[in-house]
């Protein structure tokens, strides 16, 4: 599992990816291995469903993800709107959101916001709710996620009340939905960097 440059160079656009996402060569290598592991049909792309036979593939093959209450949302976040497949670059780009934030990063104005900044992380979380990507978490979407996360013992009224309360707390402009800014504001006390980071193995 070396991080020899030669193997990294086999990956297309490795250097750009490293630059863009901040991953090291070793990370990229490992992610590439993982990508290839997931990509059983070796077509260079991950997809949700194998079209001809309608068998789940790739993403579907990750068992534990199936057990996750919001597994679907996570998977769908990898696919850009309208796309059916995920190539390695997109795979890495999305995963880059979860790199631990570099604390001392200095940002000059010209530099684009890094992939793993808190805002990006928050956006990812927001996306988990906002499936239709309209920039707001509607009550229905909130309910859906709540339902997924809560156990069976919770009745529908309770769910409704909880969702109602959540919207009440966060919704400042009274549009009965939570926008991204409201979302961010409600989480201002929470250490997002800590919660939405994983340390990538080499």
């Amino acid at each position: 599992m070396g991080s020899s440059n030669s193997s990294v160079n086999n990956i297309p656009n490795a250097q750009e990816l490293m630059q863009e996402t901040g991953f090291s060569a070793a990370h990229i290598l490992r992610l590439h291995e993982r990508f290839e592991f997931l990509d059983k049909h070796k077509c260079g792309q991950l997809r949700l469903v194998d079209r001809p036979t309608n068998q789940p593939q790739d993403f579907g093959a990750v068992q534990e993800l199936a057990l996750n209450p919001i597994g679907d949302s996570i998977i769908s976040a990898f696919f850009s709107p309208g796309q059916e497949t995920v190539d390695f670059a997109s795979f890495v780009r999305i995963l880059a959101h979860f790199r631990p934030t570099d604390r001392n990063q200095s940002r000059d104005g010209a530099q684009q916001e890094p992939a793993n900044s808190s805002i990006r992380k928050l956006k990812f979380a927001f996306q988990m709710y906002d499936q239709d990507r309209d920039g707001k978490i509607s009550r229905a979407e909130l309910l859906q996620v709540l339902r997924a996360m809560l156990g069976i013992q919770v009745t529908e009224e309770q769910l409704q009340s909880i969702a109602e309360r959540a919207i009440q707390e966060a919704d400042l402009d009274r549009d009965d939905a939570i926008s991204f800014d409201e979302f961010r504001k409600s989480l201002e006390k929470v250490d997002i960097d800590h919660k939405m980071s994983i340390r990538f193995l080499r």
Binding site: P69, F79, L95, A125, M128, M149, Q158, F200
Partner: protein, 810 residues
């Protein structure tokens, strides 16, 4: 009532004290009869003077023979006394919030010691090296090791070892050197203590024992990292201390120290540490293997745990390697496999007994600390002792600071200053130091001084730091775990984020940050489990478990009632404080625990709870319950014979039910008409298409009471959205599976939600198998933590008996 109890306790205490005093620990029988009891000395045929009154040997009606039972009697009395003290504290439970239990125990010990001293009794010789190290220490260490939360522990193992080993070394050497420097000052009259002795003493007092601190941390809910590091450090630095102690002890007797000795010392350290671990692992595996065959002899299953761990301890002592590490690693290794092999009762028994023994030992030790404090001779030397205190404090603080700086870059979650403060301040000294100092060889000139100093340090740290740590931690607001955060929003979002992270980690194929753990789990699954775990679980146990849970849940349904105001679509609801509280309760109780992130906090003084596995079971079985609901449409749809299949052992779920999915991209239009939308598309395309895919169900206006299907949603969600291949005639029918009361919902809300639920639907055919598979799979899947705890639940509800009815069981 409280007053009554405490008065009685006092009376009992006094009575027992009197008894113990009267009969004394020296076992001298009072020569005079007391209170009308005739003491009959052993019969001598030629001793008429022995029977002052009787002439011939009348049959003695009432005799006493104290020496025979003396030792067990006294042990029992002391244990009871200490336990009464413990009961006494909890009468006023507010006390234990502010004053840690160890303080209270020491105080009681001081009182008893005072009493004993005033009547010139000697305390029992509990603190001889053998008794302490062979009998009193192992239960405590076993308790700590057995209930150690393994996952956070292994995630932080580098940090833990770093602090334990390097930190203790730093402390010992630092304190030793500074004390040696102090000794040079003539004013303190301690010039005769040479460097080795100082180092020896320093190694004794650098062992931390944060029992009190841990319970404070638990109460205050500090972040998991801090907790586990303090916990782990305490455990492992015992081992390091003992090694250092032995080493310095050896060295102290030598007139000259040569470099080769230092080198040998280092080598010995590795031998001791690694050897201890090796023995522990060995015995752990042997124990696990043994329990594989104990299915016929359930009664003695707990015995194996205790015997093997104790054996590990003793064997390690035999070779003079670190017995503490041995017993801890034995417990760690053993626990996982054993809890899968043994019956649920044995499991409960083991846990209870481990906790009980640990608790007793700890209580006794602190108690005797108090007693001995009064009754030993002290040699007080202001300068030395005060400087010891000072240096202990300084060096610990410095040590934590420096070490954290070095290790922070390697941690995902670095320690902030507040955490460091908690770590440094939490360095209380305790039992180990106490025991070690008593076992100092007598040829060390100033042994008494050391004893006094150690006791002083222990008392100081336990009382002062123990009592003040709680307000301080709360004041500086150490980063807490996210329990009971302020708003509902935050709670929900945080949980969502945790699920996200868990999902991403799965996607990346890595598992809790650790490469080696990845590898280990693969190895574990492939090889170890096959050898060590008994495969053929009786199927009846699973069936019985389901029946029980069924009954339990039925009872719970009867008991619960709605506590929320009905949401009738008012634009703005007022939420009462009680509502909020209920909401928080609901959220905290019912949200799925993140599989990797749940902190298995174990209170030192309480048994751990098994809520996670219970939750999984409840999820599972409730779906069965749903499927059996009498008013449900789907019961007509799904043939009952399909339920409760059991998969042959070892087959994976996918093999039986290859999941089939519809992709929405094509079928958006067709979805709206199709009569078989039961095929859930789990992988609905993101973006517009997904929402549109959910839309088609607007036509199901009539059946908008969809939400009950959520039940199935989560339950199946948990199990995996696999096995959907079942054809369901009508998604609408699934919608209709709701009990009557839940019918009143504003339509607007339900569209999207119901649609989503439809598509995540259950398939009751699949549920049963999935559940059983899950039951079987649970032990084999790496993620749920040490899942054999499932069996514990049934023990908790005394009302559960094997129900007689079994409508669907094959």
């Amino acid at each position: 009532m409280d007053l009554h109890i405490s008065r009685r306790t006092e009376v009992l205490l006094v009575v027992f004290i009197l008894f113990s005093l009267l009969y004394g620990s020296r076992g001298e029988i009072p020569p005079k009869p007391t209170g009308g009891v005739t003491i009959v000395p052993p019969v001598k045929p030629d001793g008429p003077q022995a029977f002052p009154d009787a002439e011939k040997a009348n049959l003695p009606v009432f005799t006493m023979d104290y020496p025979r039972i003396q030792i067990p009697f006294e042990i029992t009395l002391w244990v009871l006394l200490a336990s009464f003290a413990k009961i006494g504290f909890h009468v006023y439970h507010k006390i234990t919030i502010w004053v840690p239990e160890s303080c209270l125990l020491i105080s009681i010990g001081l009182i008893v010691g005072g009493i004993m001293h005033s009547v010139h009794e000697e305390p029992p010789a509990v603190l001889s090296s053998n008794v302490f190290f062979l009998y009193m220490l192992p239960p405590i260490v076993l308790d700590s090791g057995y209930f150690m939360p393994t996952r956070p522990f292994f995630e932080n193992i580098g940090t833990v070892l770093w602090f334990a080993v390097v930190g203790t070394l730093w402390n010992s050497i630092g304190i030793g050197m500074s004390l040696f420097a102090i000794c040079q000052i003539e004013a303190f009259e301690v010039q005769d203590i040479n460097l080795q002795e100082n180092l020896l003493f320093a190694s004794i007092i650098s062992a931390v024992d944060p029992v009190a601190v841990l319970s404070v941390f638990e109460d205050v809910s500090v972040n998991e990292q801090l907790y586990i590091v303090v916990f782990g450090e305490c455990l492992f630095n015992d081992a390091v201390t003992v090694v250092l102690y032995n080493m310095f002890n050896f060295v102290a007797e030598m007139p000259v120290v040569e470099p080769v000795d230092v080198f040998l010392g280092v080598a010995r350290f590795f031998v001791v540490g690694l050897g201890g671990m090796g023995f522990g692992i060995l015995f752990g595996f042997v124990a696990a293997f043994t329990t594989r065959f104990t299915s016929r002899v359930r009664e003695i299953e707990p015995l194996f745990i205790f015997m093997y761990s104790y054996l590990a301890y003793l064997v390690a002592e035999l070779f003079a390697i670190s017995s503490i590490m041995a017993i801890v690693t034995c417990a760690l290794t053993m626990k996982y496999y054993v809890e899968e092999n043994v019956s649920q009762r044995s499991c409960t028994t083991i846990r209870h007994v481990v906790k009980m023994l640990g608790s007793i030992s700890e209580t006794l030790i602190f108690f005797f600390l108090g007693v001995v404090t009064i009754t030993t001779e002290h040699e007080w030397n202001w300068g030395y002792i005060l400087f010891t205190l000072l240096f202990a404090f300084i060096w610990r603080g410095l040590g934590v600071l420096v070490l954290t700086q070095i290790i922070n870059p390697f941690r995902t979650i670095p320690f902030h200053l507040k955490d460091q403060f908690g770590l440094a301040y939490g360095g209380l000294r305790g039992a180990i130091s106490f025991a070690l100092v008593f076992t100092l060889p007598d040829n060390i000139g100033r042994k008494q001084l050391f004893v006094t100093a150690t006791i002083a340090i222990i008392l100081f740290t336990v009382f002062l730091q123990g009592i003040s740590i709680r307000p301080l931690i709360e004041y500086i607001n150490v980063r807490r775990t996210n329990r009971n955060l302020d708003t509902i929003n935050v709670e929900v979002h945080c949980r969502l984020m945790e699920h996200t992270i868990a999902g991403i980690e799965d996607l990346c194929g890595q598992w809790s940050h650790f490469y080696w753990k990845d590898k280990f789990m693969k190895f574990n699954n492939r090889i170890l489990r096959r050898i060590l775990i008994r495969d053929n679980r009786a199927e009846s146990s699973i069936v019985a478990l389901y029946k029980k849970l069924e009954l339990q849940n039925a009872m719970e349904i009867l008991d619960t009632y709605e506590t929320f105001i009905k949401n009738s679509g008012k634009p703005k609801k007022k939420f009462l404080a009680s509502d909020l509280k209920s909401m928080h309760d609901i959220l905290s109780k019912n949200m799925y625990k993140i599989r990797q992130r749940t902190v298995a906090y174990t209170n030192k003084h309480a048994l751990p709870n098994d809520s996670q596995t219970k939750e999984i079971l409840i999820r599972r079985h409730t779906s069965i319950r749903r499927s059996l609901r009498p008013g449900s449409f789907q019961s007509s749809v799904v043939p009952k014979s399909h339920k409760y299949f059991s998969l042959p052992a070892g087959k994976s779920l996918e093999s039986k039910f290859p999941p089939t999915r519809l992709s929405y991209t094509d079928d958006q239009e067709t979805m709206s008409e199709v009569a078989y939308p039961s095929r859930r598309s789990r992988f609905h395309q993101p973006g517009r298409s997904s929402s549109r895919a959910m839309m088609p169900l607007q036509r199901l206006d009539t059946l908008k009471e969809a939400p009950s299907v959520d039940v199935l949603d989560e339950s199946t969600g948990e199990r995996g959205r696999m096995g959907h291949g079942m054809s369901r005639t009508n998604s609408s029918s699934s919608n209709a599976r709701i009990p009557a009361p839940r019918r009143q919902f504003p339509p607007s809300v339900d569209h999207d939600s119901s649609s989503a639920d439809n598509f995540r639907n259950g398939h009751h055919e699949a549920t049963a198998e999935e559940e059983e598979q899950q039951q079987q799979q649970q032990p084999s899947s790496p993620t749920p933590a040490w899942a054999a705890e499932t069996q514990d639940n049934t023990a908790q509800n005394p009302l559960l008996r094997r129900p007689q009815w079994n409508p669907k069981r094959k």
